[in-house]
């Protein structure tokens, strides 16, 4: 009898939390358990940094998914936003004041400005041209920091910090930074699910499925797209800044179109059109990239996985889980 009650209660929790909530919960619990295990076993401290990196990249991928999965705009230049945010923050810290908050302000301002510029031109163009336009836009920050502004940005070597800039906690403690990144991930998740479940989120989905209909209903589709590009770009820039704080280094290679392809890849593999799908995809990519050592093998496995996903599961591996729950 009692067992039945417990099972009933569990079932209620299960239906109360969505699949995305469950995945978030599993990731948070896994990260906490991993950090405890790491403390008491011989696992290298490097893996704490590695895990923070995964979490930060999944913030980037979740921000990207707002455009690809929910708005149907396939940007092929999201690494440009990432790079703009990271370099904005790095230049603020390096040339204005050695303070993380100053860097954050610079990061947000630069990525919002860049998103405004990209959004202004990109919303007027549809389909594959949007991808090509964002691709070429993303080359601008890449070329600027690599060669044109070489004196300020350190050229292709990028910017390195020896000690982390002061913040409200000690960032050289990798475990604390991991918890910080996890907290940011949860906040970003809550913000994104708030956006997607709001009326604006419905507009985005409608834009993806039938743009003409939304226009016919009297919505200003350009403004909706513009806002989506700005939110997604700014969040990506913020993820770039977190990446800078984690690795204490940034180089132009992070803005090459390969990184843009990587974020599309993790989004597709995990599942477009679900908030935590990109999170799963990021774990998949990073674990394979880290533990398959032989050069060439990584590309074969990841490329084959992507081909299978595109041909067989167009909405990603997350669909396999949806059937279970």
């Amino acid at each position: 009898m009692k067992l039945k009650m417990v099972r009933h209660n569990l079932f209620q929790i299960r239906s109360y939390l969505s699949l995305d909530d469950w995945i978030m919960l599993v990731v948070v619990v896994f990260t906490l358990i991993f950090s405890v295990i790491q403390q008491f076993s011989g696992i290298s401290i490097y893996y704490l940094k590695f895990l923070s990196n995964i979490i930060i990249f999944s913030i980037f991928a979740m921000a990207y998914n707002l455009l690809h999965g929910y708005t149907g705009l396939i940007s092929f230049g999201h690494a440009g936003f990432f790079l703009t945010g990271a370099y904005g923050g790095a230049l603020g810290i390096l040339h204005v004041a050695n303070n993380t908050w100053i860097g954050l302000i610079f990061c947000l301002v630069s990525s919002i400005l860049f998103s405004f510029v990209v959004g202004f031109t990109a919303v007027r163009i549809r389909g594959i041209y949007f991808s090509l336009l964002t691709l070429s836009f993303s080359m601008l920050p890449y070329l600027l920091v690599r060669s044109t502004l070489r004196r300020l940005t350190g050229g292709h070597m990028g910017i390195q910090f020896i000690t982390p800039p002061p913040f409200f906690f000690d960032m050289s403690n990798l475990r604390l930074f991991l918890f910080f990144a996890l907290g940011v991930l949860v906040i970003v998740y809550l913000i994104l699910s708030g956006i997607i479940n709001s009326k604006y989120g419905d507009c985005l989905k409608c834009l993806r499925d039938n743009e003409t209909k939304l226009e016919g209903l009297g919505y200003n589709t350009k403004r909706i797209k513009y806002l989506a590009v700005t939110i997604s770009g700014t969040l990506s820039g913020f993820a770039g800044y977190l990446f800078l704080l984690n690795t204490l280094a940034i180089s132009p290679a992070m803005g090459f179109y390969f990184e843009s392809a990587k974020v599309i890849f993790v989004t597709l593999i995990g599942g477009i059109g679900s908030i935590t799908g990109p999170l799963l995809g990021t774990f998949f990519w990073f674990l394979i990239d880290e533990f398959l050592v032989k050069a060439g093998f990584v590309e074969i496995v990841l490329g084959t996985a992507l081909i299978i996903v595109i041909l067989r599961f167009p909405s990603g591996f997350i669909t396999l889980m949806k059937r279970r729950i």
């Binding site: 396939i74 549809r126 389909g127 090459f256 032989k294 050069a295 060439g296 093998f297 074969i300």
Partner: protein, 294 residues
Amino acid sequence: MEVMKIIETIVMWATVSFSVGLLYVLFSLGLTLIFGFHEVVNFAHGAFYMLGGFIGLFFYTISDNYAIALISSVIVTMALAALTERFLISRLYGTAPANNFLLTFAFGFVLIGFVKLIAGSGIRNFPVPKALNWSLTIGTFNIAAYRIFFIVFAAIVVFLIYLLLTKTMMGIIIRAGTANRPAVEVLGINVKNYFTILFAMGSGLAALSAVLAAPLLSVYPSMGDEIILWAFVIVIIGGIGSLKGAVIAGLLIGLLHGLGSIYLGPMSMVLTFCFFIVLLFLKPEGLFGYRITQ
């Protein structure tokens, strides 16, 4: 003396920019024809280029004959491309163009992986053919004979492609299919087969340009990554599916790069991209494009 100096600079600029420009033209021709005919943005084009370079290197080391390397590389790449089109890319016709974009990207990634696995990820030197291993001296400036051979050969290939597209039945069908595919289908022509041929031909052109450029640029697994970016710029500027557009835009980008390497420095690339963005904004169908794909 001053006049001599100016002539020298112009000759230097012209040889550098024409060789770069013709490489871009050869590479983007295949891309623009494939894009125009079936709305497939072929991201694997860079991987086929890289593969062609490596196959050419392989045959060159076996046979020590540049012509054999060139021909066999083109044939092997064409066969592989035809198989890819039949068994992989044709599955997604009729869906959103972005799907093919991502699928070909994934396939290119797999190809790069295989090449890295077999040949390693280092830079391989491709020796200059012995018959062309001399240089022409103009004043104080040397022009490698291979560069002149490259320019002449590439120009001939572009001219042959032009003849193929305008004078033969196949070329007429391809151009008609680019302008209005349903009309060609109504005439009872099997467009699918023509697209397989076109895809193989475009990839063969990529392999040809790779083997031609290999003695100048050498061969490495990521060699397709940068050139495909410029090729997209050229395809959009020239207009999708347009041979004339690809040739003019390719030479234009080549001239800008040549100018950049002598006077402007890295700023020329930024300027090219700004020009590209403005053009895409004002005239998305490009300079000589047939139509806009939505």
